[in-house]
Structures are given as structure tokens and as C-alpha cells.
Symmetry: C2
């Protein structure tokens, strides 16, 4: 297959818990891939033992890593990405875990192999945040703040309209924004991991998750949320980071935001980040109403960055 | 000299109306450059006849073009950039004229020579707007709107506080934001040229300046400006562009902006642009209170992009 950038590609491997490790260097049957015909795919060339054997069999040039976030240790994504880079493939992921738990190792491994380790979809659904800073040579990022978790933002909006926390969560789940287990979002883990990823990569300060003061929205009374909006100081789950003498101070917590502050306007699934730099004292990016494909687009854009 | 990116550089030529064409492939005397000692520089190696002779003598790898905007035809910047690319040097400019009047020719010439033609400082003081879209492969820009001219924004702010147009202009000049001849800003030319540059490059639609409906702020009565702010609908000089069946429809005009719309908060020298794309329905960039070096930084960042 060939896309309009003139990049030729084929899918030579696919893997999931359900599929096992399926690989064929000549390319997998696209009809079976699109229809999810697992038996046909397995018959084609399933049965590899692990990620390394699978990568060798697929002879992949680029790995897309899409396992879900493991807050504690970033696994198994880190092992997959490490294996891909050692195999000599670029590694692209939407998973924040490897960025927070193994950024320096994977970055240096990629550099040593002349390959890329890219993760643009990890924060703000593929809006090119990390790539933007690639375009800002020698700039010094002093701090940032923003709204980076959609689920809590949607829940807060519904609570402002009068729903209980549980009803607002249910609505966010029905909209397909919150997952069935939304604990990671509600308790601020997702926002904290994104904050840690931005600090680690853009401020070049490794930070552990337990160094980020974290408070979710679970304990906010619906009446408090409604009153705050009515009084013009809506609650938002705000991420903050700032350089200090010893590193970076960072937090995720519900804050009452002034009505004339840009964060007050970030509703639903939109997100916002405001960077403080030496050259640009305030450089803010707003993502309004991301489309369904925004995260997948980020993976595609990373793919183009790898192979162009 | 060597900067912290490991790039080695020396200044082998400098030129201005006052200096003439001065070149020395071994590098100009940096003490004389910094102190503006024209006689020492001229003695070192002035006297070249024109841009081509000067480029050959300087053996430059990168040209920084910094003549002022010529709205009518983009000259002499176009000639300088063309000469640099033909000589085999990258060309970097903060001048919008060449982008609006000769983008495709210079882009294709640069590509043919394996060199770069970059102009990040032409819009939003070096905020990486054009570079951002380099990071958005295969995206489709349907339109944009924003506030791109600082002088009019500062003048409007002062008029809201009660100053007359002339007094507000004088204040903007004293702040170093408006030039002595601020006609280009006040009558919307600067904003129109920036709008045309964004359309030409990011929407890939060549547009002539006379195709952009243009209205400046000269005819706004101070009382209208004050009342609009009081009523929560402040006047802003708004740039707009939108794809149509036959190309792009674009305008620059004072508009009353709703108070809860992000543009209402863009005050003083800040700027704002909101892009509508297929993947990201709303992707907005805000530049608050740019520092003194923001435009020069854009030239530096372009330099790094050229030589890295």
C-alpha cells in the first residue's frame, strides 16, 4: 500500500492478548485484518512465542505499541518498545507509561540505534505538543498548567448542570469518553501521568509519579461544583508544573478557575495547556472538540515522522 | 563560534543601505559588528557590487533576509532570497513579502537546490506556526481566524481606556510597538499580508492581497470602541479565512467579539490564531506578551532547522 506522501507500507505483524503473536513479512491479509477474522490471521502465521520472536518474524520497520496504561511500572509497553528498538525498528506509542517510567533509557536506546521513539498521542490526543518543542531549539520551559483529562472535564460539566457524580460519570461513559473503569481519570492518575510525561520530556527532569501532588474529583460535592460555576469560578482538574531550585514542583488538583481565565472555557473533551518559556512568556495550545480519530492521527503522524 | 547545539558558525557577510555589501569568508570582526564600527567593517572588505557578488565573496551557507515589508511586490527581499538559493545557501527571513508574492517560486527553487526557504518569524513573532503544520502530515486546513497585528490591538486597548485614536497611536509608538509610520498596521495591511501568508503556505492556495477584503481601525470612533468594551463586545481587528468552492474567502476587519470568545482576552501585543482542520476541529495557539527577542528567536530557530 502507498499513501499520498509516497510512503509504501504493509502490515507484517499484529498482536493482542486475544490474537497472540501473528506475523508474516509478506504482509497480513488486509481483508482478514479489517473484518477481524482471527482464525484466518492465525492460520496465516500465528504462534510466535514472544515479542522478540514476533518482531524477527514480521521483520517490522515500525512498531505501534497500543497496550493500555500501567501506572505502576509502564509494562508490558516498555518491554515491547525496548524489543522493537533493539530489533532495529522505530517505536510509536500512544501509551504514557513508557514515557514516564523509561523515557531516558528508551530515548538513548533509540538514538544509539538511529531509530525514533515517538509518543505524540500520549498527551492531548495527537496534537503535536512534543513535536512543537522539537521546533523550539534552545528554549527553556519554566513551567506549564492546563487541563489534560477529558473524562473529569466532562463529568464536571454535567455536575454543573445538576447531575450527581455517579450520573455524570455514567453519562461520560455513555458518550464513550470515560472507560468502564474510570478510576484512573477520576482520581487524577491520567492527568498526573500526562503531567509527568510533559515534565520528563519537555523540561528534561525525570519525575516519579509519587512526586506529583495528586487529588481527583471524587470528593467534590455536586452542590460545590454547581455553586462554583454559578459564582463564575468553575471547578477544573488543573495540572501544574514549575521549576524550582531542586527540580520541578507539580500537582494535579481540582481548582476554582476565574471565569476570564482561558481554562474556564475548556469544556467537554477539549483540552488546554499553557507553557511558560524564556522566549515566549505564554504560549498556549487549545484543542477544541477533538474528533474521533485525533489519537489515531497522532500515531499516523509519528509514523510519517519516523519514515520520512 | 559554536552554540550549545554543536553548530559552528561565523558571520561572513553583512549588508544594509548604510553599510553597503561587506563580506569576508574568514569571518567579520565580531567586535566591529557588535560596536557597529562601520569604518572598520568597510575597511575589512566592503565594496561588493550587488547581492550576488556579495554572496559569492562571503561564501555564505545561510542568508538572513531582514529588509522591511514591501506590500506591493515583496522586493528587494525576493531578489535577495532568490540569489541566495541560486548561490546554494539556505534563506531565512522575517519578511512576509516574499511569502505572499513569490512563495511557490522560492519554495520550488529551494527544493531543487536541496536548501530551505524558511520564514517562521513572518507571523506571530517566531511562534512555530508554519513548523507546527510541518508536523501535521496529510491534515486539511479548512479555515482560520485570529488576531495577528499587535499595533492595532494595543491602540484599541488604549482607546477603550479613553484615549483618542491619535493619543493611543502615540502611546503604542512610545512603547516601541508601533513604527513611526504605522499606516501598514492601522489600515490592516500587516494583518492582511499575514493572512495571505497563512493561506498561501498552510492552505496551499495562492492569494493576491487585493482578494482579501481589508478594513483598518482608522474610522472607529473612540466612543464606539469604549462602548463596545463596556457592553462586553470589544472591538478587535480580526483576520479570517475559509475555504470555498473556488478557493479561499478572506478578510481583515474590526469586529465586535463576544466577551466569552478567546479573542476578547487577547490584549496588548499578544496574538491568537484558531485553526479549523479535519482532524482537530479547533486547534488554537495563543502567544501572550511576547518578549523582545521573540522575532529574532524565530530567525535563530529557522537557522537551526536549516543546518541541523
Amino acid at each position: 500500500m502507498r499513501d499520498r506522501s509516497g510512503i509504501t507500507f504493509r502490515i507484517t505483524g499484529i498482536s493482542s492478548r486475544r490474537l497472540g503473536w501473528i506475523a508474516d513479512p509478506e504482509g497480513l491479509d488486509s481483508t482478514a485484518l479489517l473484518s477481524g477474522d482471527i482464525e484466518a490471521l492465525r492460520a496465516q502465521s500465528g504462534g510466535h512465542r514472544d515479542v522478540r520472536q514476533w518482531l524477527a518474524a514480521a521483520r517490522g520497520d515500525v512498531l505501534f505499541e497500543a497496550t493500555s496504561l500501567n501506572v505502576e511500572n509502564g509494562q508490558p509497553a516498555i518491554d515491547h518498545i525496548r524489543a522493537a528498538l533493539e530489533h532495529g525498528a522505530h517505536a510509536v506509542t500512544a501509551n504514557k507509561g513508557p514515557v514516564v517510567h523509561a523515557y531516558r533509557e528508551l530515548r538513548d536506546l533509540a538514538a544509539g540505534k538511529g531509530k525514533r521513539f515517538l509518543f505524540e498521542s500520549a498527551v492531548m490526543d495527537g496534537v503535536p505538543i512534543f513535536s512543537l518543542f522539537d521546533q523550539l531549539p534552545a528554549i527553556h520551559l519554566q513551567g506549564f498548567h492546563g487541563i489534560l483529562n477529558s473524562t473529569t472535564n466532562v463529568i464536571l460539566s454535567h455536575m454543573e448542570e445538576g447531575l450527581s457524580f455517579d450520573a455524570a460519570l455514567k453519562k461520560a461513559q455513555e458518550l464513550g469518553i470515560a472507560e468502564t473503569d474510570a478510576t484512573h481519570d477520576i482520581d487524577g492518575w491520567d492527568a498526573a501521568v500526562k503531567t509527568a510525561a510533559l515534565i520528563t520530556v519537555l523540561m528534561d527532569v525525570p519525575v516519579r509519579l509519587d512526586q506529583i501532588a495528586r487529588e481527583g474529583i471524587r470528593d467534590l460535592a455536586p452542590s460545590a461544583v454547581r455553586n462554583a460555576r454559578r459564582d463564575g469560578w468553575p471547578f477544573k482538574l488543573v495540572c501544574r508544573a514549575r521549576r524550582t531550585a531542586n527540580g520541578v514542583q507539580a500537582s494535579v488538583a481540582p481548582e476554582k478557575v476565574r471565569n476570564n481565565e482561558p481554562m474556564a472555557r475548556i469544556s467537554g473533551a477539549s483540552s488546554y495547556v499553557y507553557f511558560e518559556t524564556d522566549i515566549f512568556p505564554g504560549l498556549a495550545i487549545t484543542e477544541e472538540n477533538p474528533g474521533l480519530y485525533a489519537t489515531a492521527y497522532g500515531l499516523l503522524a509519528d509514523f510519517v515522522r519516523c519514515v520520512k
